[in-house]
Symmetry: C2
Subunit: 181 residues, 2 copies
């Protein structure tokens, strides 16, 4: 496989990393191409627009995350899932110097009122997240409990990002489990 043959993947990887760390609005196609080492003229050969690329970034990110969630919930369960999310923010800080937060929540707050296609896709994904958590609760538990748990996770990740301190999440599970009572 030559360089050009994986240019599309490189663009997706570069965009995912840039958008996760710096958001959507501040990133341009030129910067994505530079990071991916792909000529700017080639970008529109692979993607119709920055929006189209972003939708693929979202889908790719959720595909990987979803596989992790399913595997963790099938195995060690909900507490492990929550602890993994905290660990992911710690890794982000250790490797890149900053708590990047949740890619999907970042995009949701930045773009929901600007881009209906992105908003709709993110709504579907968060519905899937709630469904996965719901499936891990005791039989008969309300779906709104699962949504509250995901909300607590996202709210605490916001605090970790705003204070650029993953230790904020040390408390996450201890608080979140109260929502299941």
């Amino acid at each position: 496989m030559g360089r050009q043959s994986n240019a599309r993947e490189r663009l997706l990887d570069a965009a995912c990393e840039l958008i996760h760390s710096r958001g959507y609005g501040s990133i341009g196609v030129a910067e994505i191409c530079a990071k991916a080492d792909v000529r700017k003229g080639s970008f529109y050969h692979f993607f119709e627009s920055k929006q189209a690329l972003t939708l693929e970034v979202i889908d790719g990110h959720w595909r990987r995350q979803r596989a992790d969630w399913v595997s963790t919930l099938d195995g060690e369960g909900l507490e492990r899932l929550f602890r993994d999310q905290a660990e992911a923010q710690r890794l982000s800080k250790d490797s890149g110097g900053a708590v990047n937060g949740c890619l999907l929540a970042n995009l949701a707050l930045e773009l929901s009122n600007q881009d209906e296609v992105v908003r709709t896709r993110l709504e579907q994904i968060f519905d899937e997240q709630v469904d996965l958590v719901h499936g891990a609760l005791r039989p008969g538990a309300e779906r709104s409990t699962a949504r509250a748990l995901v909300a607590q996770l996202e709210g605490m990740v916001l605090f970790a990002k705003i204070s650029n301190d993953p230790a904020v999440l040390d408390d996450l599970w201890r608080q979140a489990r109260l929502l299941m009572t």
Copy 2:
């Protein structure tokens, strides 16, 4: 008072409204000036930069919101405060067609990793929010409980924004109060 005399206020009001509904990255100085009906050349007479304006928008927003929070917590208490936040999102949808979410959380997720000055200011404000909620809890309650409550609020507002449906927040208090057990 002539038009020019309140140009600064008009710029702040226009920026607050635009940033709340569409985020930071997609708004330019020209658009803020157009909405405020202020000549673009005058902008830098009032503000050094878009960042300087944004910091004033943040401070002004929190000054007003803080006064509301203090008054509500001194009067009707925490449940009322949470119900008011849900009501604010309902008003946002009814008046502008979209759930705008929380201005401060929106900016936090969009800018925390891009702008250390904005991040630090938002961290201080969220600390104040947690302190206010902490002061409304029973004596001896942990500060981490107050933070979990604010996280729950922000996480559920995220869900309301992502589904563009303020009814998501009908459940907010019923879930959040479990965090106080």
